[in-house]
Amino acid sequence: MLEWFETFWSTYNTLILSIGINSLLALSIALTLSCGLLSLANAAFMGIGAYAAATLTMKLNCPFELALFLSILAPICVALVIGIPTLRLSGVYLAMATLGFGEVLRVIIMNIEFIGGPMGLNGIPNITSFWHVLLALLAVIYVIWRLKTSKIGRAFEAIREDEVAAKLMGIPVMQFKLLAFTLGAGIAGLAGGLNAHFTYTIGPNSYAFENAVEILTMAVFGGANSLLGPILGGALLTLLPEILRGLKEYRLAVNGLVLILVVLYLPNGLWSGKFRRIKKSMERNKDNHQHV
C-alpha cells in the first residue's frame, strides 16, 4: 500500500501541487471580481511573489517561511502603489491598464541581471511540500469565507452591483476596492512563492498575458461568485489537459470546446447551477424557521 502511494506521489506530485496553486490563483482573482473589479494583474502579482521568494531563498539564504511571508507582502505593496491611480477606471479600461502593468513588469524583470534577466532564475531549491500548499489553501479559504460573511463582503457585493448606491450607504468605495485589489495581489503572490519552490525555474514569460487570462478563465469556469467555484475551476482546468492527453494533437481543441460549452450553458460557472440553488433553498428554510 505504502509502496503504491509512493509511486503515485512521485508521478503526480507536481500535478497535485499545481491544482493547489491554480486554486489559489483562481481564488485571488475571484476576490477582486467580487468587488466588481476586472483586473488582469494577478499573473504579474504571482510573478512578483515568485521572484521575491526565490531571490530570498537562493541569494540570501532566507528561511522558506519568511520568504513566503514576503512573497505575500511584496505584491501587496506594489498593488497599493498601482491601485490608487488605476482603480478609478472601471470595466475593460481597468482590465487594459492592469494588463499593461503586467507587460511593463515583464520587460523590467527581463532587464534586471541580478534576477537572471531573460533567462530567469534557475535551480530554485525544491522546498514546497504538499502540506505547505494545503495549509496555504485552507488559510486563504478560511479568510475569504469569514470575509464574505462580514460587512466587508457585503460591501464588496454592493460595490459590484451599484457603486453609486454603495457610496450612499456610507461605504468608502475607493478604500474597499483597494482592499479587494491588494488582498487578491497577496494571495496571487503567495501562490507564486509556493509555485517557484517546486518548479526549479521561473522566468519573466511565465507571468505574461496568457497566464493572466488562464487565471481568469479558471475562476469564471468554476463560478467566480462562490467560494468553491474557483477551486473547482482551478482543479478541473489543471486536470483537463492531463485527462485529454490520449487525444494527442486534438487535446487543445477539445479543451477549448469544453470551455465554450460551459460558458454557453452555465454562464455563471460550474458551481452556480443546481448545487447552489439547492443550498440557497435550504438556507431559506432555515431562516424562515428562525423568524417565525
Binding site: 469569514r146 462580514s150 454592493a158 448606491a165 457610496k167
Partner: protein, 252 residues
C-alpha cells in the same frame, strides 16, 4: 436645521442651478417641485456629494456638506432614494438593508476573522433591526428572496427600508411615487408619515401634485434652476408664478 444657500452649478456653460436658497424645518415633510429639467435632481446630487456645486453652501445641523465624499455625507445623517430605483438586485432583501447599516457595524478585522462575540452580537442586532425595518414595509416575509423578485412598488419600499437603515436625520426621496397606482400611493403616504414619526425629516421631489399637496408642510418651487416660490401648499397652489411655470403664461 437643513439649509441651502446660494447654490449654483454650471454644466458646460449651461446654468443648471442659479443662486438656489432654501431651508427645510426639522421634523417636517417638505417638497421640491418644478417642471422637468428645473434642476431638482441636481440639488439632490449636490447634497449627497455626487455633484460638486460651483458656489454655495449646504448645511445640516450647522455642518457643511459641500466638499465631503458621498459616504461621509451619509454618515452625517443624509440618506436618499433614486428616481430610477437602485437596489442591489442580486442580494437578498435582508442583505440590502444590512448594507445600509454598514457604518453602524463597529467591529475590527480580528472580530470577523475569529467570529468574536462582539462580531456575533453586532451582526445579530443588525439582522434583527433589518428585519424590523422590512416589516415596517410588510416585506419581512420575503426577506430571504433576492431583490429582483420584487414588484416595482415593493422595490421602492425596499429602497426606503435600506435608506432608513443608515439611520438618517434627513431623508431625500427622488420621485417616490413615480409609476405607482392610486392604492400604492396612499400606502406610501402613510409610510412616509410613519417615517416622520420616527424622527426623520423628509425632503422629496415629486411631480404628483395631489400627493405633494396632501402630504407636505412646505413646498419650494424650482424653475430653470431658480427658486420661484416657496410656502405652504395653500400658498403654492395659488401662486401666479407657479401656475405660469406649469401651464404657461396666459396669452393676451
Amino acid at each position: 436645521m437643513f439649509e441651502i444657500k446660494n447654490l449654483s452649478k454650471n454644466f458646460g456653460g449651461l446654468e443648471i442651478l442659479k443662486d438656489v436658497s432654501l431651508s427645510v424645518q426639522k421634523g417636517s415633510i417638505s417638497a421640491l417641485i418644478g417642471p422637468n429639467g428645473a434642476g431638482k435632481t441636481t440639488v439632490f446630487n449636490c447634497i449627497t456629494g455626487l455633484v460638486k456645486p460651483d458656489l454655495g453652501s449646504i448645511q445640516l445641523e450647522g455642518q457643511e456638506l459641500i466638499g465631503r465624499a458621498s459616504h461621509q455625507v451619509t454618515r452625517l445623517g443624509v440618506a436618499r432614494t433614486f428616481q430610477n430605483i437602485r437596489i442591489f438586485k442580486e442580494m437578498t432583501l435582508l442583505e440590502n438593508v444590512l448594507v445600509g447599516m454598514h457604518s453602524h457595524l463597529d467591529y475590527r478585522s480580528k472580530d470577523w476573522l475569529l467570529t468574536s462575540s462582539r462580531f456575533q452580537q453586532q451582526e445579530k442586532q443588525a439582522r434583527d433591526a433589518a428585519y424590523e425595518l422590512l416589516s415596517l414595509f410588510q416585506l419581512h416575509h420575503q426577506h430571504a428572496n433576492t431583490a429582483q423578485s420584487l414588484s416595482y412598488g415593493e422595490q421602492r419600499q425596499l429602497e426606503f427600508a435600506r435608506a432608513l437603515a443608515t439611520k438618517p436625520g434627513l431623508l431625500l426621496l427622488d420621485e417616490p411615487v413615480a409609476g405607482m397606482n392610486r392604492t400604492e400611493k396612499t400606502g406610501l403616504m402613510k409610510e412616509i408619515e410613519l417615517i416622520r414619526q420616527r424622527g426623520v425629516t423628509v425632503f422629496l421631489i415629486e411631480h404628483d401634485m395631489r400627493f405633494v399637496m396632501e402630504l407636505c408642510d412646505h413646498i419650494t418651487v424650482l424653475n430653470f434652476g431658480q427658486v420661484i416660490a416657496e410656502g405652504t401648499p395653500e400658498v403654492i397652489k395659488h401662486h401666479p408664478g407657479v401656475i405660469e411655470a406649469y401651464l404657461g403664461a396666459v396669452e393676451e
